[in-house]
Symmetry: C3
Amino acid sequence: MSAGWSITVGELAQLIGGRVVPAAGEDQATASARALRGLAGLHEAGPADLSFLTNPRYESQLASTRAGCVLIASERAPLPHAAQLVVPHPDATLAQLVARFAPPPAQPPLGIHPTAVIGERVRLGRGCRIGPYVVIGDDCELGDGCVLHAQVVLGEGVRLGPGCVLYPHASVRERCVLGARVIVHNGAVIGSDGFGYATVDGVHHKIPQIGTVVIEDDVEIGANTAIDRARFGRTRIGAGTKIDNLVQIAHNVEIGPHSIIVAQAGIAGSSKLGHHVTLAGQAGIAGHLRIGDRVTVTGQCGVTKDLPEGAVVRGSPAQDFKAQIAQEVAVRKLPGVLARLARLEQQIAGLLADKEPRS
Amino acid sequence: MSAGWSITVGELAQLIGGRVVPAAGEDQATASARALRGLAGLHEAGPADLSFLTNPRYESQLASTRAGCVLIASERAPLPHAAQLVVPHPDATLAQLVARFAPPPAQPPLGIHPTAVIGERVRLGRGCRIGPYVVIGDDCELGDGCVLHAQVVLGEGVRLGPGCVLYPHASVRERCVLGARVIVHNGAVIGSDGFGYATVDGVHHKIPQIGTVVIEDDVEIGANTAIDRARFGRTRIGAGTKIDNLVQIAHNVEIGPHSIIVAQAGIAGSSKLGHHVTLAGQAGIAGHLRIGDRVTVTGQCGVTKDLPEGAVVRGSPAQDFKAQIAQEVAVRKLPGVLARLARLEQQIAGLLADKEPRS
Amino acid sequence: MSAGWSITVGELAQLIGGRVVPAAGEDQATASARALRGLAGLHEAGPADLSFLTNPRYESQLASTRAGCVLIASERAPLPHAAQLVVPHPDATLAQLVARFAPPPAQPPLGIHPTAVIGERVRLGRGCRIGPYVVIGDDCELGDGCVLHAQVVLGEGVRLGPGCVLYPHASVRERCVLGARVIVHNGAVIGSDGFGYATVDGVHHKIPQIGTVVIEDDVEIGANTAIDRARFGRTRIGAGTKIDNLVQIAHNVEIGPHSIIVAQAGIAGSSKLGHHVTLAGQAGIAGHLRIGDRVTVTGQCGVTKDLPEGAVVRGSPAQDFKAQIAQEVAVRKLPGVLARLARLEQQIAGLLADKEPRS
């Protein structure tokens, strides 16, 4: 993090409501007086950095970290070097701190860059920032404080809620609708045609895709992700859902609120996902499925059937996580099983041969 | 679909050559007089909407749909609410109707936007529409009626047949050739360098990729798809082939006519696919393979060997569909197999122990 | 390859230090006098083309090729039609020849296109080529001879070393750093926000991503690939590493030098890869892993655990290549195993039944 701020551990504890645990052999006053001027991971941090334990995988780095202070969810025995700052949600606290101390994001200046091409009957809210070579189609409507970086393209009749941020080369096709505070990263495409054809005598005839896409509030969409418009009706992304890079969302898909779609996952046409669903990286959902609330789909998993609420699935094709793990463990033993089976067959053949002369 | 048109079921039947089947308790005249003003899926449709059954998965919605009329391939017993309009290919009929009644697509006005940068010796056909900030390199040639949306970039010497439509941020690199009526969605890249290196002593030296890409007539290319130029010669996409979003097509690949490549599928270098091949989502084809005509590759399948005409494959690595399914079924029983095997071993050990004292 | 050059086999042998092997029935002088005017694959080449055998898969085409001359690593018996030119590294020699004889790459003219928007305090090296509608943010620094094709966007404070080439619609976000001779293909995104949220009570709060991306010298990045900026610190791509199209590289990933990342592969957050690692197409690496030097990950493989130096892995989840192959072979026998097991159970039941009356 760039320089320009400095805060003591004690001031930070007051600011965020945490409790200070001194390092080994240190008293409370010394710990509280440590000055912090940066943020870094446990491994990289130095004595003037605030660090954090938000992933248990890095537990073992607590003993060796040189950080001045570590944000942590539960108190440990005093660490060799770092003071601890105990807070209930280190991740969330970290996000707040970063938002407070980070350098302001790079964005175009207030107003409309002279090179932007703005269509007819476009309504812009107050405080918008429209960058160079942005193209806004006729009849678009932008809420207050929207930021369109260089070369964003909005088709005709697109509507953006307040506070949306679209990065360079993002595009939103005609008539699609984004809610408030939607973030769209570079190169993401919202509203491209769904993949629909009527095949007659081996020739594929395009079915025009005349629906739209609706993105609800607080959604984030990653770089080069594609979300297709509906054949009719709407492709819909629920409020608070976060979508990573290079994700494919086909026509007429619906994703409930607060879901997490990790990079390179894909959802085929017309599937409906509940809220708080998690698709890990490179996972795939076949078309026309119903995926319940709070379902978790692991990485590279391929879902081909409906899934009830809370299901956790793994494998391609997807199965219940525990059943799949049991099978994977069993498959690892399979070469040995073949040997055991051959031995049994030999033994039984012997027993049967013994028996025959006797009968 | 937006308002502005209205047609009765009877008029529609005349227009498209279908047969009207009244709803339960309704007479022919009443059914034919129903007015339709929109198009919608079975679940969403209301009494003024035309709907359709094109996927057997939605058969069960026929009983509950509130649509005014349903396009259908074979007559059912009268439905509770909807009239039926029986046609041989509902999908194709639907496509024709949509093309007829849909709102005209959003496109730049006729002519060349004043901000477009047009190179030297560029030849434009009649009726082209060139949007804002389009860049066309020297020596390009565009057929009649081409539409280049905002910020499309054509490299030097690119040729487009008549009626091509390129959406915002699509780009075609130098010397690539597109046939007639090719559609390229937002952010798709045609003609990026193939991935080829000569590795000497652990250092990868780039092999210049000096071939091109040839896209034949009536191909559609999805958003953010990448099609690499050949090392020498041509990467080729056959006429009528449809390619979805985020697909990777490597250098020197050839795809025959009328194939379907679903989202996030990838084809490695120099593989040749026949006609009417289907790659489902996230499928992968290794390099230097021959894939026969009418092959079907299921979702997430990984093809590592040549495939004969008509093959249907599944799994990673790919195998014959039925063999793969049989193995998947068997694997699901494998944890039980291990238990059964252990029991057999115990029983045989007992039998052998019994035998030994006797001998 | 376009016309305009012509060289005899003998001149070529002198130029590159190879040895000429005449075709069957031909003398040395005749072979050396053959004139070459193009480059082509074995199957496509004609008598005036230089061809090459760089992949043993095409060995069988040596007998039928009509090429004038074939670059080859070890001498064969005289071929029916083609002369041989024996060199130690045909791939590398080919790359040199292509670089020497290929048509010059299409690029914008020297200088800054009048439509480019250049920020304040931007420093451009000598001999740069800045194309139409390029946008360069404040405080950027470009080394000598950089080429920015149409509509490239650089955020604030981006630094490019000498000789970088960025193709249309490539974008580099604020403060990211590219070394010398980095090539970025169309639509690739460097420095988009990492995918990081703090989830409190089911709501995902964005963790600002305030780190950067560092791309070292001689890296090539494919079309529509996405490389996210670090949460803090740096996402880093080592010198000489080559990345194909549509690859996902998450925040805080580090890739060592001279690695190969094939199309549609993905690497989740904070994983560290060594040097000379190969990820084949559609492979995935889970987050927070350590992947040793010279590791090979096969196509569609899913790595979920750390891998030691030199490991070769296959399958999803990944396992040692040989163990995985043994299991795949065993699984193919599994349906038969079930039948054999049922037969054994029947036989043993018979033996046990026989035994009981006797005891």
